[in-house]
Amino acid sequence: MPKLIFELSRHGRCARAQVPRHIPRAINIPKHFLRQEEPFLPEVAELQVVRHFTRLSRNNFSIDTQFYPLGSCSMKYNPRGVHHLAMLEGFLNHHPLSLDINSQGYMACAYELQEILKAVTGMSGVSLTPMAGAQGEFAGVAMIRAYHFARHDLERKEILVPDAAHGTNPATAAQCGFIVREIPTDTEGNVDIESLRAAVGPQTAGMMLTNPSTLGVFEQKIQDIAAIVHQAGGLLYYDGANLNAILGKVRPGDMGFDVMHINLHKTFATPHGGGGPGGGPVAVSDRLVPFLPTPIVVQRSGLYAWHSEKECPQTIGRLSAFMGNAGIILRAYMYARLLGKEGMERVAEFATLNANYLLAKLKAAGFTPAYVNRRASHEFIITLKTEAKEWHVTALDVAKRLLDYDIHAPTMYFPLLVPECLLIEPTETESKEMLDIFVEALIQILHEAKTQPDLVRTAPHTLSVRRLDEVKAARELDVVYKQIIDPL
């Protein structure tokens, strides 16, 4: 492991060429406003900085270097050309509060992306401002709330979520002031229709759903679900996390959804950046258009303009200081233009082909799918329940051992209702050879689990660190260098 950058620090050192010239002019600030001692920042030279962070980067897995079969995350290739063009000076130097006449280049891209997203979702209105999927969810649920309020329908206090839902769904509903009610899943991975029927009523504000579900199967009774929720007076929310599976094949708007978010960092290949920035535009049906978060780009007599609170009096409001993660919006737009309409349809086709191929190969190799009778969507689940019992090797161990094979671990222990599970999503940008290597690695690890289980249990062995002590990290909180906080 490289040292901490603070350990490279020497008093008085810094990257001189980057510091502005000293101007012999007074500082017109009274002393009691001023800082008395320097902050604890490293004092290092430019080469040290470049070398330190370059070396740190090499301790990461990334799409550019490894395969990420990470279920629910759609870790596909992030085109370099897109990044390169988003870094053009004209885009980088553009101030968010520039006049509209000085912003037509960016606004044209944002406007056209709004139109593209309407087309692929089958929805009537789009706002690009939410800065991540979770914020898109927040916007969506806030719009559901605003819709009922506007109709003076004030008793709707419950949001329904399937038990297999992403953690953000219940967290979002709670943040919007709703009570969360879970709906169980049937044995084939669908929402249990009878339980749903029993759960809805005049208290139902809406239901949040992913389709294909987090279990990697298509919710076939989606229209029944929509009818039940709508008849009860609720609205249907589409969690767009798995949109990649159906892009160009079936549209949430046509399935009966009223509102959804789109994870641009999944379906539209914008970089994950080690945990962000994301992008979570929302798309809505006619009845929710007035409530969309602002600002929104509109086109008027050949010019683009922003619409905000003034033009949209019923809006749920503003979600970011400016207009969301504009650079991510730009990248998603460019990706959509590179794909075009045929490319868009092929995303779903090849994502599904890759997932089903992997599933077939793993089944043949003796792994147990969670849903044997179902077609995989763009992802699927295998359960290591039997292996865990027989060899005392858990899904976590297998995941960690995969890292030694230079493959990122699949999503582990999610959804919560399948024991010892791995959620696997290859995405459309991986080649058949890569998928074959992954299958071979899993077969090898299964063999190791039988013959030398300790090797698997103590993995990884080849990375910069071995398995880390998370309990110690939480108990003896050390989150700032040279300062250990007492456990509370």
Binding site: N28, L41, F61, A132, V465, A473
Partner: protein
């Protein structure tokens, strides 16, 4: 097929393995009548070269303007090394560091970031970042609400000298809960929070006071007195600050007798380009007693099986993927890439370099003010100490003046008209270290000529309907 590596033979072999006759069969579980029937209304695909041509033209459309707008997004010099290194695929295309052993680069960097940011704020802890400054403020308010269980109704004092867009975002995000937000007016002469008004407030029912530094007008607030007021009234103090300014100004942890409890703000000035408003990142720091209320990701240092130093995401029991409906926030990303850039930026400049950037920005803004106040009819509005922004009042409609400046490739500032109508025709102008004396002279000359032009108002009347578009 863009980005899809399959050969015709691959496809045949894979379908055979699946025992599917064709691609179409892979979608046989989707009810046929739901399938997309008409071709999507999306343009044909472009090659990378064609896309390059289109995007260069669009970037060029918005380029080559001299910019004196600040108002929450600031143009600073970004050293070349910052984005050269941050754009490495190993940083840019990595996932969230849930698999700690395969993410030590990102995790160590976040730990270094947390150290730098906490120190810049002079507070105990920092999280690994929020979406932006405005949402960081909303989350800081929610933290205060969670930390203060004694009140049933939560009242938050949100001064009008805080960025108006931040106030709107706070209202959107916390408006869904049982929290009351009270505006606190600013003193019309100083541009600061009025302490006299604050003293009238019923402090018993108040959960938190938000204190900006510098405030939206660029004015320095009397942070010591405000923090002390909050402390004596048992009200949580939330600082919302420009992090670059904190290399020069007294940091939140040292305000008053006790320091502010929570500090947040926009990280953009530290190495992040303007880029039409994002992606930026929000920072959020606090005293250690609030750490369990801190939302978002936090990185901790620990050891591996062999006792070697390593880093992990810690205190995950607060987060949505574990606690679901009981999580501290629904957030599940930070703005990792922007924090990467910022950490590299702060490392390059160090404490002295950062301070110099802040000083030069302040000095340039002072020079700008001096020159602007010599123009006939231009009035400097608040006579208080500043960081790097000024409010000026113009003798003519700001919207029209800005439009005329824009036609000459000059962005003169942010029009305060719709947000603060009581101030009249006012403009918020900013100068950072990126502006030269020559730039400032050019701005002043242009503004002088536009203001002295007698036909401005005639022109405005003629083009009145059209000009309104840009108000």
């Amino acid at each position: 097929m863009p980005f899809i590596p399959h050969s015709a033979q691959d496809i045949q072999e894979m379908l055979a393995t699946i025992e599917a006759a064709n691609m179409e069969q892979l979608f046989d579980e989707i009810p046929a009548h739901l399938r997309v029937k008409n071709v999507l209304a999306i343009p044909e695909s472009l090659t990378e070269m064609e896309l390059g041509r289109l995007m260069r033209a669009r970037a060029q459309q918005d380029n080559n303007l001299l910019c004196f707008i600040g108002a929450g997004a600031y143009e600073h010099h970004i050293p070349a090394a910052v984005w050269e290194v941050a754009s490495r695929g190993e940083f840019m295309t990595a996932y969230t560091p849930y698999q700690a052993e395969a993410s030590q680069g990102t995790l160590q960097l976040l730990y270094e970031y947390q150290t730098m940011m906490a120190s810049l704020m002079a507070l105990d802890v920092s999280n690994a970042s929020m979406y932006d400054g405005a949402t960081a403020l909303a989350e800081a308010v929610l933290m205060a609400v969670r930390a203060n269980r004694k009140n049933k109704l939560h009242r938050i004092l949100l001064p009008r000298s805080v960025h108006p867009f931040y106030r709107q975002v706070v209202k959107t995000i916390i408006g869904q809960q049982n929290i009351q937000i009270d505006d606190i007016p600013f003193d019309i002469n100083t541009g600061r929070i009025s302490l006299a008004v604050l003293k009238e407030v019923a402090a018993e029912t108040t959960t938190a006071l938000v204190i900006p530094q510098p405030n939206f007008f660029g004015v320095l607030e009397e942070v010591d007195a405000l923090t002390d007021w909050a402390y004596t009234k048992n009200v949580i103090s939330i600082a919302v600050v420009n992090p670059l300014a904190m290399a020069l100004l007294k940091p939140p942890g040292q305000w008053g007798k006790t320091g502010a409890d929570i500090a947040c703000g926009e990280g953009q000035p530290l190495g992040v380009p303007l880029a039409s408003g994002g992606p930026y990142y929000g920072f959020l720091c606090c005293k250690k007693e609030f750490v369990r209320q801190l939302p978002g990701r936090i990185v901790g240092r620990t050891v591996d099986q062999e006792g070697k130093q390593g880093f992990v995401l810690t205190l995950q029991a607060r987060e949505q993927h574990i606690r679901r409906a009981k999580a501290t926030s629904n957030i599940c990303t930070n703005q990792g890439l922007l924090v990467t850039a910022s950490t590299i930026y702060m490392s390059l400049l160090g404490p002295k370099g950062l301070r110099q950037v802040a000083i030069t920005s302040h000095q340039n803004a002072e020079l700008l003010k001096e020159k602007l106040s010599t123009i006939e009819g231009v009035e400097v509005v608040f006579q208080s100490p500043r960081f790097h922004e000024w409010v000026i009042r113009l003798p003519k409609p700001v919207a029209l003046v800005l439009r005329q400046l824009a036609e000459r490739k000059m962005q003169g500032g942010f029009n305060l008209n719709s947000m603060y109508p009581e101030l009249g025709e006012c403009l918020l102008v900013c100068a950072t270290e990126t502006k030269t004396e020559e730039d400032i002279r050019k701005f002043v000359t242009l503004l002088t000529s536009i203001l002295s032009s007698t036909n401005l108002l005639d022109k405005a009347e003629q083009g009145g309907a059209h000009a309104k578009t840009y108000l």
